[in-house]
Symmetry: C2
Subunit: 359 residues, 2 copies
């Protein structure tokens, strides 16, 4: 057979529908996208301003080492640049970790209501995937730890989690880490870190870095509003980072993403506005769901998982024709749930209006 084995087992990732696509397909003018946990306030203005001034050198390859971005991150995070690797979004950090550490047939442990890319990327890496049920939409670290075998090479923990919006607390992580052998990697995906750390008991996973078997990934796609540019980073020991660097394509992070991310790190005001808009938006949506009698999962992120008690595919389609894109949870087996990103005040209202009309 021409194609590699196990390829046909892979169920491709279905992204949130792009605004342009919905406009094109349904002939709608105004479309609100609350489907991909993007920053509803737009990109960081400092990042945009950086790009405007730096368009002359697009003919040059990006710096393979992301020198300046890593310098800045290292300073902000109080680590060395050698503790850092940058990726084409933090999606790529996941892929690089799998490529660097997991041999064909080795096991990867994953939650059941979590970011779908862990499973897909593990299958691409020819790993065996062990799915552990979550408990009340929360990671069950205790059970995950019990599922470790001598074949286990990686455990993925999304903290906070997507699509549930829940997080595992400091004491849970602390207990979990005590039972983890050095023969496997614990991968903390902290894509929603900036939102999560608003919780007092959110864990500081960086204190586990020097164990040599912990990788943390973070991204500029969410709180910094740069999903379109594709830039994220990984944190670990220089040794672990060195292995990941060996399997990285040399020019994986584009030149504008590197500069824009650097600028966004200094955009404290934008981050503040983002956190405040998210907080207010969540309060508004919680209240509206309460009024409508829908149960939701309290969220440590910029999105909410809510049970509408009706076929989520149908809700998705009806919302779409009202010009509101949400994410139905069919792919996670949550057949009556949708996930809605917190938007601007106007977007949140449009969403609620559309929802009320459907019911």
């Amino acid at each position: 057979m021409l194609v590699r084995k196990n390829i046909l087992k892979i169920k491709p990732y279905i992204p949130g529908k792009p605004i342009e696509e919905v406009q094109r397909e349904l002939g709608l003018k105004e479309v609100v996208k609350l489907a991909s946990n993007e920053n509803s306030l737009g990109p960081s203005p400092r990042a945009v301003s950086y790009i405007k001034k730096n368009l002359k050198n697009l003919n040059r390859y990006p710096d393979s080492t992301a020198f300046y971005l890593k310098q800045k991150l290292a300073k902000d995070l109080k680590v060395k640049p050698a503790n850092l690797i940058t990726g084409n979004g933090s999606d790529e950090i996941i892929t690089l970790a799998l490529k660097a550490f997991v041999n064909e047939g080795e096991e990867v442990i994953i939650g059941d209501t979590t970011f779908l890319i862990y499973k897909i990327a593990s299958q691409v890496a020819n790993a065996k995937v062990t799915i552990v049920p979550m408990s009340n939409f929360r990671y069950d670290l205790e059970t995950m730890r019990k599922r470790i075998t001598n074949k286990t090479k990686m455990i993925f923990i999304a903290n906070p989690d997507n699509p549930t919006g829940t997080y595992v607390a400091r004491n849970e992580v602390s207990r979990f880490m005590k039972g983890i052998p050095k023969s496997l990697i614990v991968f903390f995906d902290e894509a929603y870190y900036e939102f999560g750390r608003q919780k007092k008991d959110f864990p500081d996973t960086m204190k586990y870095l020097n164990r040599g078997n912990v990788i943390i990934s973070r991204t500029f796609s969410k709180a910094y509003g740069l999903s379109g540019l594709r830039v994220g980073y990984g944190l670990s020991t220089p040794e672990v980072i060195g292995y990941m660097d060996r399997v990285r394509e040399p020019f994986n992070v584009n030149i504008l993403a590197q500069g824009a991310a650097l600028a966004a790190l200094d955009d404290k005001q934008f981050l503040k506005r983002t956190l405040s808009n998210t907080k207010k938006g969540k309060e508004f949506l919680y209240k509206e769901f309460d009024k409508l009698g829908f149960e939701y999962v309290p969220s440590a992120t910029n999105f909410i998982l809510v049970d509408l008690r009706r076929d989520c595919k149908k809700v998705f389609k009806k919302m779409l024709s009202s010009g509101v894109i949400v994410r139905d949870m069919k792919a996670w087996g949550l057949d009556t749930y949708i996930r809605v990103t917190v938007g601007t005040e106007r977007e949140n209202k449009k969403f609620i209006t559309a929802l009320r009309r459907i019911l």
Copy 2:
């Protein structure tokens, strides 16, 4: 062992030194980079103009399917969008092909004086690499074909080749393709296609596409001047593309790259200027090398491989301190060769002046 097997065998790719790095390290103000076969005229102006007008939506994920870019490419190339896949540079098309088709331990056939990424990416994919010597700096397709075994899964052919600048002609490819079994993929890397096709006997590899075991990759990094943005594409049958799509990360090509590439395809004037500048620059450099008595390899690309008959590492360093970055060919075992990208008239003169000073 924590790390995956064979990782330590991988010899990382060493990119051309970035301008900023040389400025930083040597305290130089004006630095000319002729090290990475970038477009010396800058990026396509239409691409830059597109970006300026499209900075509002950087908070949105890029279109996973690159709908508009594929539509446009399909129209220009007279294929269907289903024949196309886009990548984070054409580097990624190489990686996706390996991931989709090559099982651990299967063989990949590669030339010895060619793009280093084939070997590195094949090692990352846990493939066995068979290196076939080139003949007088040209791909020896006849010998490559003879090295096929029942374990061979892919053959890489850079056409035109980098770092030699040579190409394989229509009749050579035609003869080669006659002996190729359907059980392996022939990968034509046409990163320098727009330059190569200026040669009358440059092959039209697209006519082999419907065999179902041919992949062609091309890029916006060279003739279109968009190296910094990272965008390239692959061409094959819908079936082959479908397999590659299954191992692709969903948001691999950033939002600005997609739009800029689309704009660049319509920038006929820029392409014309690029080809004309390259032609003139090569003529100038050939003449200068002749005067200096240095042998060079006639090039179908925007760079020249030249034998300076002295330690290329030393030449590289001396050129660097004169503010000219070239590529020494040590990594290819060509210890007295450098590769120089054709620059602007001014850059070419600066290079020759620096070279003369060294001798």
